[in-house]
């Protein structure tokens, strides 16, 4: 199996991204930090939805569980971060098993709607149950941060993206990735091949939840605040989903690509369209790209690269 070429790609990616802060302003670095978080969430979404075909409309639910757990632990109990972040991730794993429950019986649209209901329910619950602890509608502010400043945060979050991305890539390029893809194509035929579909789903959901949990916990400690309206929100869900799909689902590079593309699209529109028009253009571009190529930028680039490759090769041969 040719391993060298993709690994070279990862290496080039790491080198370029590590050098980025040297060349760009801190403002851009700050934008990249958000792009990194979005990349983590999109990768997490893709593990459930892109790979197995169980479309999750409730990913903010998973992210929020980790975020709220670690936020409340540190805010109220002064729990150290090395304890509260794993606690948050663990809580998300429990939440992930909640996703498995409907996934035993339903898929596709129905599954998407249950997870959407999970998110809506969580939004209601953070406000109704013990608003003193969750901070109610306003949320909590003044949550401790891990490092401060744009560049340290950039390296921290890029480290997470790289570690998670490479980890996922290594795991999903093994036969488990093919098994999950098979699950997406025909669940019955997977069972008839002698594989436990429940076990595969559990693996995918737990992996996705763990990534969402890590992302969510670090996200909250980066923001320094947490509020239900920004989190359990259709617009947040929309960004995650579109990042994964626009980049190219069922790949590892796609969601990262999509997250960077979307974040920069929005930020680069800011100087020209500071107001609400920005979101119209942003949404329209996302819509057009998605409708024209549902397999995403990943596919567009790959086809482009494939068409370009022979041309480049010919040029090299020519004197």
């Amino acid at each position: 199996m040719p391993l060298a070429r993709p690994l070279l790609g990862w290496l080039a990616f790491a080198v370029v991204m590590c050098l980025v802060p040297v060349f760009v302003s801190t403002g851009t670095v700050r934008i990249l930090v958000f792009a990194n978080f979005l990349a983590i969430f999109a990768m997490s979404w893709d593990v459930i939805s892109g790979r197995t075909g169980y479309i999750s409309f409730g990913h903010p639910f998973l992210i929020g569980i980790a975020g709220y757990t670690t936020a409340m632990l540190t805010y109220h109990l002064d729990t150290p971060l090395w304890l509260s972040i794993p606690a948050g991730v663990f809580a998300t794993l429990v939440g992930g098993t909640l996703f498995l429950l409907p996934a035993l019986r339903i898929r596709g649209t129905y599954f998407a709607l249950v997870t959407l209901a999970f998110m809506e329910l969580m939004y209601q619950l953070t406000q109704v149950i013990a608003p003193k602890v969750t901070g109610g509608t306003r949320g909590l502010s003044g949550i401790p941060t891990i490092v401060s400043g744009a560049i340290p945060n950039y390296y921290l979050t890029f480290g997470l993206v790289f570690a998670i991305g490479l980890g996922l890539w290594f795991v999903l390029r093994t036969r488990i990735g093919a098994a999950l893809a098979a699950l997406r194509m025909d669940e019955g035929a997977v069972a008839a091949s002698g594989l436990s579909t429940i076990r595969l789903k559990l693996f995918a959901f737990m992996t996705s939840a763990a990534v969402a949990g890590i992302g969510g916990a670090f996200y909250v400690h980066y923001l320094g605040s947490i509020a239900p309206r920004g989190l359990f929100d259709i617009n947040f869900l929309f960004t995650i989903l579109v990042a994964a799909l626009l980049g190219g689902s069922s790949t590892v590079a796609g969601p990262i690509l999509g997250a960077y593309f979307l974040t920069f699209l929005l930020e680069y529109l800011r100087p020209y369209l500071p107001g609400p028009e920005r979101y119209v253009i942003y949404g329209m571009i996302a819509l057009v790209v998605y409708v024209l190529e549902p397999r995403g930028l990943h596919a567009i680039l790959r086809t482009g690269a494939r068409r370009l490759a022979p041309l480049l090769a010919r040029r090299r041969i020519a004197p």
Partner: protein
């Protein structure tokens, strides 16, 4: 008790009206239109613009809203949905993106300031300390008429029977000479018009804001999912189940738990009876 009965009936009627177009599209095309809430919102804004900005009569305002909704339904189908029809998930995602785009567009045109509208039917019904606005009673009566009309339409008319045939067996319908695309187009137009009509009532009852598409979408999803996706009668029954549940929760239990119970109902039904309480998938 009378107040729960009257108010529950009224709210349920509104919910049924909100959900019916959503049901039709799923039933005929097997896709979920996550921009359904936007159809309502457009209806509301179109009516507002016609009646409260340009001072056109209410009847004309309603007609404009319904036409705008139907036109937008047709546009959504031909430009967006038709390309992706073979992939229901892609339709859901693209209509979700469309909803977010439309929300941004409304913000640009109307700003995000909430507006409230005059009731279409002014006045209040009072009976032994119970009060209900004529407007919501009108919405209730209208939803019964619309739903009844729809049942008659799909059972009795040629177009309706063709729609029903497509909803039951798409391939079979194609073989018997029905063009499923034209049927889908008709469904999106009808659904858009009905949603806009529901939007006028919904907005006159609550308020107009660019974020108002989420609440009716959640209602439609809850009604349709619990009722069994695609069943008109099921939707009607469940709209009443949810409407009454909300009224009872608000009146007797605790008003802040209103939304929580609805979401719990959705989750429980989907996990235990995935096909819904009236699990047919035809009109």
């Amino acid at each position: 008790m009378t107040n729960i009965l009257i108010q529950g009936l009224a709210l349920s009627g509104l919910y049924a009206l909100v959900a019916v177009g959503f049901t039709m599209i799923f039933s005929v095309g097997r896709v979920l239109n996550l921009a359904h809430g936007v159809f309502l919102m457009l209806g509301g804004y179109a009516y507002y613009t016609a009646v409260q900005v340009f001072g056109i009569s209410k009847g004309a305002g309603i007609a404009i809203a319904v036409l705008a909704g139907a036109a937008f339904g047709i546009l959504t189908y031909t430009v967006l949905v038709r390309r992706l029809e073979h992939n229901p998930i892609a339709v859901e995602i693209s209509t979700l993106i469309l909803a977010v785009v439309m929300q941004a567009l409304i913000v640009v045109v109307y700003t995000s300031a909430p507006k409230s509208m005059w009731p279409i039917v002014p006045g209040v019904f009072r009976h032994e300390g119970v009060f209900v606005s004529h407007n919501i009673l009108a919405a209730m009566v209208l939803s019964w008429i619309v739903l009844g009309g729809l049942v008659v339409f799909v059972r009795r008319t040629r177009l309706g029977r063709a729609l029903r045939a497509v909803s039951m067996d798409r391939k079979g319908a194609v073989i018997s000479g029905i063009d499923p695309h034209r049927m889908s187009l008709a469904t999106w137009a009808i659904s858009g018009g009905l949603a806009a009509l529901a939007g006028v009532f919904f907005a006159t009852y609550t308020q107009l804001t660019p974020g108002m598409w989420v609440a009716p979408l959640i209602i439609a999803v809850a009604v349709v999912v619990v009722g069994g996706i695609g069943s008109i009668v099921g939707s009607l029954v469940v709209a009443h189940l949810i409407g009454f549940m909300e009224t009872v929760t608000t009146t007797l239990v605790a008003a802040e738990l209103r939304g929580v119970f609805t979401m719990v109902l959705v989750i429980v039904v989907l996990v235990i009876v995935p096909k819904g309480l009236f699990g047919r998938e035809e009109l």
